[in-house]
C-alpha cells in the first residue's frame, strides 16, 4: 500500500522520511493519512493541533534556530503523550530521530489523564474579549477589535470583514450573518447582501449584548439602552430602557427578551412598553438565552447557583461564583464558575463536570459536544463526551512552584506547591507516595540532602524525609537551600546560615540563590552581591548578575539576564561563558556545558555554539513550543511545571546513523547486594536489589494466581526502575527513525553470575503502566545470548530441512503425537522433512545424534539431568549428543531445561528454546509449532519466538510468558534459516 510515503509495517502510519529527507511538510503528511483508519485519524488530529501550536509559538528567534519540521515533531510528540496516543508518540520520536537533531523527548505528562479532553491554542493577535457559539464552531472577539472563528479541529480563521473599533465586547451569529459590538457604540456586521444590512447604530455607550436570528438584530448598551433593527426598517428602533447594563438578549421572531444586570427579565412584543417583567431576585452576575430566545438561564451575584427563569429551584450549583452561562444549539446549558469547573447538562438533569485548572471565564458551545473557554490569549476546547472520567481532585489549583530531580533515585522527582505541599513522583510521572507532606507555605526550592530533602519555603527552611513530617530548621522566609559538604545551607531573607557550623552571614538584600560543589559554596543576593565560601574563607563581590546557576569545579556560574550572559567566576577571574540569545525565566544546568531553560512560550536546551568566540555564543539545540514556569534538569533529563501541569522529558541526541540498531544490550552483573544492569550505551547501570530478584524467582515459580500476581507486580516495579533508568531511552534509540521497527533486548549474563541471575525471569520485567514488552506494538523481544565454545555449524545448502522430533517413552508425553500432527500440517509449505513420520521414542543418548536441522526434545528434565526411558542423563551428555545432530534450532519441551539450553548454545547450536521452570506439555505445543514454522519460513528466531509466545499466552496461558526462554548464539542475527535460502 503506497499512501504518500513508505509505510511502516507494524504501525501502519506513513513514514515518508525513510529513505528520504525528514523535512516533510504538513500537507504531505496529511495527504498520506486515511481518515477512516483510527491511528491515522489520531495522527491527523495531533498534526493539526501541533501545527497550530507551532504557529502560536511566538519566539521567532527559536523558530529561526530550529527547522519547522522539528518544532512540528516536538509538538506532535508532546500532544501524543498528553493525549495518550502511543503509536503517534513512537511515530513522532522516529521522525525527530530521522532529523538527526537533538530533541526533547516528552516522556510523561501529568495531563495525560485528561489530555484528550482538552485542546489548547494561543491566539496570535490580542486577548479574547468575547466568545460565543456559532454554526458548530465558535466566534472569538478580541481586544484588538478582530473577530475570528474557532473550529472544533482547532483551526482559527480571522473574519476580515468584521472589525470593531476597539475591543469586541459582544458578538453573535446565525446562518452566515455575524454581528459584533464594542465600546462607544462601535458596531460591525457581515453576511447581509450589500445595501440590505443594518446601518451603524447611534454612537453612545458600549454595546455589551447583542443577538441576531439571522434576520433581525437587537443590541443592548451599558447605559441600558436597547435598539432593534429588522430587515426593511430604515434604522434602529429604540426599545424601552432601564438604567442598568444589559446582560443577555433573546430574539424570538418579533419578541425580544432581555435580562438586565439589576435583576429584571422583561419581554417586549411591540409597543411602547414591556409586555411582561419578572424580578429575578438580585443583581445578575451572568445570563444567557437559549437559541430560540425564549428560556433564560441566569445567576445572581453572591449565589453560585444556575437558575432558569420561571423555575423556583436552582438547576445546579458551583463552589464559587458563576462567571458565565451558555446554551448549545440543541438546548444543553453550560455554566462556568470560579471554582474552576464547567458544568453542562440538559436543564433538569445532573450536569457533567469538567475541571479546567483555574478561572474559565465565560464559555461558549461549539456544537453540542465541545465547550470553549478563554483566558487571556489562550483558548481551550473541552470535549464533554470525555468529561465522564474526570478526576474531581484534579482541579485543586495548587500551583507547582518548585521541582527537583532525585539524584539518588534517578527518574524520581519531588514537587513543591504554592500551598506548601510536597509530593514525590516516580519516573512515569505518577505519585510515588500517596501521603503528601506540607510545610505550610509556598515552596521555593527543593534540594537533596543526605537521605532526605531540604526545602526552602515561605515558612522557613525545612528538612523532609518522605513518609515523615517535615522538620523546620529555621524560621523566616527562605528562598534557597543547598547541601554543602554534608551540611545544610539555608538562605533566610537576607541571611545565609549553616546551622551545624554556627555560621551566619548577612547580605544587603534577600538571598535568592545558593549553589555548591565539594569545595565552594556560592550565595547570590537580589542586589547582585555574590558571596563565596571555601577552605580559604569567605569573600564578597558585586555583580550585575541575578541568577545563580551552579558551582562546578570551584567555578561559580551566574546569569545576568539583562546582559544575557552566563558568567564564570574562578579565582578572581570573570569570564563570559555564554551569550544567551533568548531571555529565560529560569535556567538550570543540564549536563556538561548544556543548560535547560524555560520561557513563557517554550522550553529549550542551550549549549555553546563556538568555543572560540568571545564571549561564546549559545545556540538553542532543542526547543519545545510549550512554556513552563519551573524546571529541574540533570543527567539528560528535564522536568518542567506550569500551573498544575508537570512534564518529564529526556534530552535525546540521535546517532549520526539514524536508522537504529534494533537491539539493546542488557548486561546484568552481581555487585554486592545489588544486580547492576548496564542498559545499552548508558554509563550508569541500574541497580536492582538482589533480594527482589530472588523474591521474583520464587514468586514466578508459584502456581497460585495470587502469587503469580505478586510476581507480576514485583516485575513491574523492577521494570519501572529499568525503563526509567535508561531502557526507555535506549528503546527509542534502537527503533531509530522507524516507529515500526521491532527491538531485541540482548541479555548477557556473565558465567560467574549464572547461578544467581540465570533463573531470574527477566522476560517478565515491564513498566507497570505498560504491557509486557513482547506484547507491545511493535514488540520488544528478549533473547539470552551465550558465547559458543565451538563454531556453529554452517547453514546447510540442502533445499529441504530435516526435523527430528524426539520423545521420552513416558505416557505423560503422549500429547507430542498431537503436536506432531499439527506440525505436519503447518509445515507443509516450508520445505521440511519430518524424520521418521512420527515422534521418535528415544531410549538413550544414541537416539539423540541423528543429523537434523531442527530438533524437538520432549522429555522430563531437571536443572541438571534429562530423563529418558527412566534414566536421568546428565545435561552435558545430552547436550553433546544433541549438538552432534548439527541442528541450528532445538526446542526443549521439558521442565527446568534452561541450563541444558545454555549448554547447547555453547556447543554451537544457533538457537535453543528451553523452559525456565515447569511447563505443561499438553498446552505448550502451540508455542513449539509457531516458533518452529516461523523460523523455518525465514523469520528471525527472536521475532518468531515473539509471535509464538503471543499465541501461546492467548491460548489461555496468562502466567506463561516467563517460562519459555530463547537462547541465542552471541553474534547471531537471529536468522537461523534465512528466507533467501
Amino acid at each position: 500500500m503506497d499512501r504518500g510515503g513508505t509505510t511502516s509495517r507494524r504501525t501502519g502510519l506513513p513514514t515518508p522520511w525513510l529513505g528520504g529527507s525528514p523535512e516533510i511538510g504538513l500537507p504531505v503528511l496529511l495527504a498520506g493519512l486515511d481518515p477512516a483508519d483510527q491511528e491515522d485519524a489520531e495522527l491527523a488530529t495531533a498534526l493539526r493541533y501541533a501545527e497550530a501550536r507551532v504557529q502560536d509559538y511566538r519566539s521567532e528567534l527559536l523558530r529561526r534556530r530550529l527547522p519547522e519540521h522539528v518544532l512540528l515533531g516536538q509538538a506532535v510528540l508532546d500532544l501524543a503523550v498528553e493525549w495518550r496516543m502511543p503509536q503517534v508518540e513512537r511515530w513522532a520520536v522516529a521522525w525527530l530521530t530521522a532529523s538527526g537533531l537533538p530533541f526533547l523527548r516528552t516522556r510523561w505528562s501529568s495531563r495525560s489523564r485528561n489530555g484528550r479532553q482538552r485542546r489548547e491554542r494561543q491566539l496570535r493577535e490580542g486577548t479574547v474579549s468575547a466568545l460565543v457559539g456559532y454554526n458548530g464552531a465558535a466566534l472569538i472577539g478580541t481586544t484588538t477589535g478582530a473577530v475570528s472563528t474557532w473550529a472544533v479541529d482547532g483551526t482559527i480563521a480571522e473574519l476580515p470583514s468584521l472589525l470593531v473599533g476597539g475591543r469586541v465586547l459582544t458578538v453573535a451569529g446565525r446562518d452566515g450573518r455575524i454581528v459584533a459590538g464594542g465600546p462607544n457604540g462601535a458596531f460591525a456586521a457581515s453576511g447581509w447582501p450589500p445595501g440590505a444590512g443594518p446601518p451603524a447604530p447611534e454612537r453612545r455607550s458600549g454595546i455589551v449584548a447583542i443577538a441576531t436570528d439571522g434576520e433581525a438584530i437587537c443590541l443592548g448598551q451599558e447605559s441600558g439602552r436597547i435598539a432593534l433593527w429588522r430587515p426593511g426598517d430604515g434604522g434602529w428602533t429604540p426599545l424601552p430602557r432601564r438604567a442598568s447594563p444589559v446582560r443577555a438578549i433573546g430574539l424570538d421572531r418579533g419578541t425580544v427578551r432581555l435580562v438586565w444586570a439589576d435583576g429584571v427579565l422583561a419581554v417586549w412584543a411591540g409597543g411602547a412598553g414591556w409586555a411582561a417583567e419578572q424580578q429575578l431576585g438580585g443583581r445578575v452576575a451572568a445570563a444567557a438565552f437559549d437559541r430560540p430566545g425564549r428560556q433564560a438561564a441566569y445567576a445572581i451575584e453572591g449565589r453560585p447557583e444556575v437558575r432558569l427563569a420561571g423555575r423556583a429551584e436552582p438547576l445546579w450549583t458551583h463552589g464559587r461564583r458563576i462567571t458565565g452561562l451558555t446554551w448549545s444549539p440543541d438546548g444543553l446549558l453550560a455554566s462556568a464558575g470560579r471554582d474552576g469547573t464547567l458544568r453542562a447538562g440538559v436543564p433538569g438533569t445532573a450536569p457533567v463536570v469538567v475541571n479546567v485548572e483555574g478561572d474559565p471565564g465565560a464559555p461558549a458551545f461549539a456544537g453540542e459536544r465541545h465547550l470553549i473557554t478563554a483566558t487571556g490569549d489562550r483558548l481551550c476546547q473541552w470535549d464533554l463526551d470525555l468529561a465522564g472520567s474526570d478526576d474531581p481532585t484534579f482541579g485543586s489549583a495548587d500551583r507547582i512552584t518548585a521541582v527537583a530531580f532525585d539524584p539518588a533515585d534517578e527518574g524520581y522527582s519531588v514537587v513543591g506547591t504554592e500551598t506548601g505541599h510536597l509530593q514525590r513522583y516516580d519516573a512515569r510521572g505518577l505519585f510515588a507516595d500517596w501521603q503528601p507532606a506540607t510545610v505550610g507555605g509556598q515552596v521555593r526550592q527543593i534540594v537533596r540532602h543526605g537521605e532526605g530533602w531540604l526545602v526552602a519555603a515561605y515558612t522557613g527552611a525545612w528538612q523532609w524525609q518522605p513518609g515523615e513530617r517535615p522538620v523546620r530548621l529555621e524560621t523566616g522566609f527562605c528562598q534557597a537551600v543547598t547541601s554543602w559538604r554534608g551540611h545544610a545551607v539555608l538562605a533566610v531573607a537576607d541571611e545565609v546560615v549553616i546551622p551545624e557550623q554556627g555560621w551566619r552571614e548577612t547580605l544587603p538584600s534577600t538571598v535568592t540563590g545558593l549553589a555548591a560543589d565539594g569545595e565552594t559554596l556560592a550565595v547570590l543576593a537580589r542586589d547582585g552581591t555574590l558571596l563565596r565560601r571555601d577552605e580559604s574563607g569567605t569573600t564578597r563581590g558585586t555583580t550585575t548578575d541575578d541568577m545563580l546557576l551552579a558551582v562546578s569545579g570551584g567555578a561559580v556560574l551566574t546569569v545576568d539576564t539583562t546582559a544575557m550572559l552566563v558568567r564564570e567566576r574562578r579565582a578572581g577571574r570573570v569570564t563570559a561563558r555564554l551569550r544567551l540569545t533568548v531571555k529565560p525565566s529560569r535556567l538550570v544546568p543540564l549536563d556538561g556545558d548544556r543548560y535547560a531553560g524555560v520561557y513563557a512560550a517554550g522550553t529549550a536546551v542551550i549549549e555553546p555554539e563556538a568555543a572560540d568566540a568571545d564571549p561564546p555564543s549559545a545556540s538553542v539545540v532543542a526547543a519545545l513550543p510549550v512554556g513552563a514556569e519551573v524546571i529541574a534538569a540533570g543527567a539528560g533529563r528535564v522536568v518542567t511545571a506550569a500551573g498544575l501541569r508537570l512534564t518529564g522529558y529526556d534530552v535525546v541526541v540521535p546517532h549520526a546513523a539514524t536508522s537504529g540498531s534494533g537491539t539493546v544490550a542488557l548486561r546484568p552483573s552481581v555487585d554486592g547486594a545489588c544486580c547492576a544492569v548496564t542498559v545499552g550505551e548508558r554509563a550508569e547501570p541500574v541497580r536492582l536489589p538482589l533480594a527482589d530478584l530472588a523474591k521474583l524467582v520464587v514468586l514466578a515459580g508459584k502456581k497460585r494466581v495470587d502469587q503469580q500476581t505478586q510476581a507480576v507486580d514485583l516485575a513491574g516495579r523492577l521494570g519501572d526502575q529499568l525503563w526509567s533508568g535508561g531502557l526507555d531511552v535506549e528503546l527509542d534509540r534502537a527503533r531509530g527513525d522507524d516507529p515500526g521497527r521491532p527491538v531485541r533486548l540482548d541479555l548477557r549474563i556473565r558465567a560467574e553470575d549464572q547461578a544467581e541471575l540465570a533463573d531470574v525471569p527477566w522476560e517478565l520485567l515491564h513498566p507497570r503502566t505498560g504491557p509486557l514488552a513482547w506484547f507491545d506494538d511493535p514488540p520488544v523481544s528478549m533473547v539470552r545470548l551465550v558465547a559458543p565454545e565451538v563454531p556453529t555449524a554452517a547453514e546447510p545448502v540442502a533445499p529441504r530441512r530435516r526435523m527430528l522430533v524426539l520423545r521420552d517413552a513416558d505416557d505423560a508425553l503422549n500429547p507430542v503425537t498431537e503436536a506432531y500432527e499439527e506440525l505436519r500440517r503447518r509445515t507443509r509449505r516450508v520445505a521440511v522433512t519430518l524424520l521418521h513420520g512420527t515422534p521418535l521414542r528415544a531410549n538413550g543418548l544414541a537416539d539423540l545424534r541423528e543429523p537434523a536441522d531442527v530438533v524437538h526434545l520432549w522429555a522430563h528434565a531437571e536443572p541438571d539431568v534429562v530423563r529418558l526411558n527412566g534414566v536421568g542423563l546428565p545435561n552435558d551428555q545430552v547436550a553433546a549428543a544433541l549438538a552432534e545432530t548439527g541442528a541450528r534450532l532445538i526446542v526443549l519441551v521439558g521442565c527446568s531445561s534452561s541450563a541444558l539450553a545454555r549448554r547447547l548454545v555453547r556447543l554451537g547450536v544457533e538457537a535453543v528454546v528451553g523452559m525456565r521452570i515447569a511447563v505443561y506439555n499438553t498446552t505448550v505445543h502451540t508455542l513449539v509449532e509457531e516458533v518452529t514454522t516461523a523460523t523455518l519460513r525465514g523469520v528471525p528466531v527472536d521475532r518468531a519466538f515473539t509471535v509464538a509466545l503471543r499465541r501461546y499466552v492467548l491460548s489461555g496461558q496468562p502466567a506463561a510468558a516467563g517460562v519459555p526462554l530463547l537462547y541465542l548464539r552471541e553474534g547471531s542475527t537471529g536468522a537461523v534459516f534465512p528466507a533467501a535460502s
Binding site: G166, P183, E222, P245, R303, T401, E418, S509
Partner: protein, 470 residues
Amino acid sequence: MPDRLVFHESFDSTRATAATTRDDPNLAQGQIEAVISLLLGRSLAVNNTYALDSRTFLELADVMLTVRNRVIGEQKEEATRERLGASMPFVLFRWGQPNFLAACVDQFRRHDHEARNYFRMSAWEDINEDVAARTAIADALERVLTREHYDEPFPATLATDHPLLARQYETVLRLDAYFKNPDFDRTARAPKIALKTYVKKLVGLDDLALGDLADEKRCPRDLAVQVRDAVREGLRRGLDPNFVRGWAHDAVNAQGTDRDEVTLPELVREFVDTAYNGVLADSAHAEFEYMSSVPRLDGRDELKYMNALALGVIRTTRDPAATGREAVAERITTRMSGLLSAGSVLPGIPAESLDRILTEYWGLLADPDRSRSWAQSIDLLHEELGRGAVDVPAFRDAWRGHIAQLARDLPRVVAANDGELAVTMSNGTTEFVQTQQLGEIERAALDNALAAGEHLDDLRDVAEGLDPDA
C-alpha cells in the same frame, strides 16, 4: 523595614462627609484599600488635611489606634510591645505647620468664605458654616497644644448635637498622641508636578493622541473627548489659572446631586480629583500611590473610565517615555490594579469587620514567626518591584508567593486565587470586597465592580528625576 509610604486617593476628604451614611461604599473603600496596602507592607501617607478632615481616614484611624493599643497591651514580651509600638501604619505629612494640632487649629479657623484660604470642611460638614462651633473646637485644640495634655474635652455645647464630631475630636487627639513619635510626623514638600501640569497635559492632547491614550486605558473615546473639551471650555471662560480643584467641585455642586446619570461635571471632577491626589502624593513623599475611582452603586462605569484616563495622563506626564504599545505592554505586566466590588461578587470569602481585620493584622505583626516571614517576603516583593520590568516572572512569582502566604496566615481576612488578592469587609450592614492583581483587569470584572484603581508604583523613580516645570 524600610519606609514604604503609599498615598490613597480614596482618603480624599471630599468623598465622604459627615452626612455620609455608614453603609456608603466611600467609607469602606478607603478602609479596605488601606488594609491591602498594610498587607503589602506599606505605611499610609496622609497629609494633615486628610488626617483632620477625611471621615474615611478618621474612622480608619479610630479603629486602628484602638486595635493597636489593645494588641500591644496583650503582649507579654516587652520586646514585642516595643516592636509593635514602632510599627507604623500611617505617617503624617504636614504642610506649613509645626505639628498636627497646629494644622488642625489653623484649618478650623479658616472659616471666612471670602478669604482666599477658606477651608471647606467635609468630615466636620455639620459645623462648616458654624463659625462659633469651629472656633470652639479650634480653641479646645489650642489648649491641648498649649498644655500638652489631652484632657481637654470636646466643647460641651456641641457634644449633644454632634456625637459623630465628638468622636472625631477624640480621634484627632489620639492621632496627635500617635504623631508625637517623630518617625510618624514629617514635613511635606512642594510637589514636583503641579495640578496645572496635568490639566495642561489633558487639554493639549489632540484627538489622535487622546484616542490612543483612551484606548490604552479602555476609556471610551467620546468620554475622554467630552472631558477634555469641557476643561478647554472652562479655560476659555477664564477658569482659575492656578488650577486648584475647587472649580471642578463647584460645577458639580451647582447642578445639585439628585441625578441618576453621571454628568459631565462629575466626570471632570473625577479627572481633576485624581490628578490633584497625584499632586498630594508627590507632596507627601509617597513612594507608592493607589488611585481609585469614586465608587458607584448603580453599576455605571464612566467614573472608572475617567479615573483610568486620569492615571494615563499622570503616567504620560511623569514618564513621557512610557508611551507606545511596547512600553505599555512591558510595564503593564508589573502594574498592580484593584477593584472594589460588592461582597457578593466573591461569596466564598468571609466578611469581617474592620476591627476584626485589623486585629488579625496586628496579630500577624505580634507573632514573631509569621511577621518575620511576612516582612521578609515583602522585602523581596519590593526588591523585585524595584527592578521594574527587568524580570517580570520573578516579580510575578514574588507577588503570587506573598499573597498565597497572606491567605494562609490570615485565612479569615485574605483569599488568594490565581494571582488575585481579595479582602472582604463588612460594615455591619453591607459587605465589600477589594481585589488586587497584576496586569490588566478583565472587562467583565470591571463591569461588576463599584470602583477601579491602579497603583502608580512603577513611576516613582521617574517622578523623582522629573523637572516640575517641564
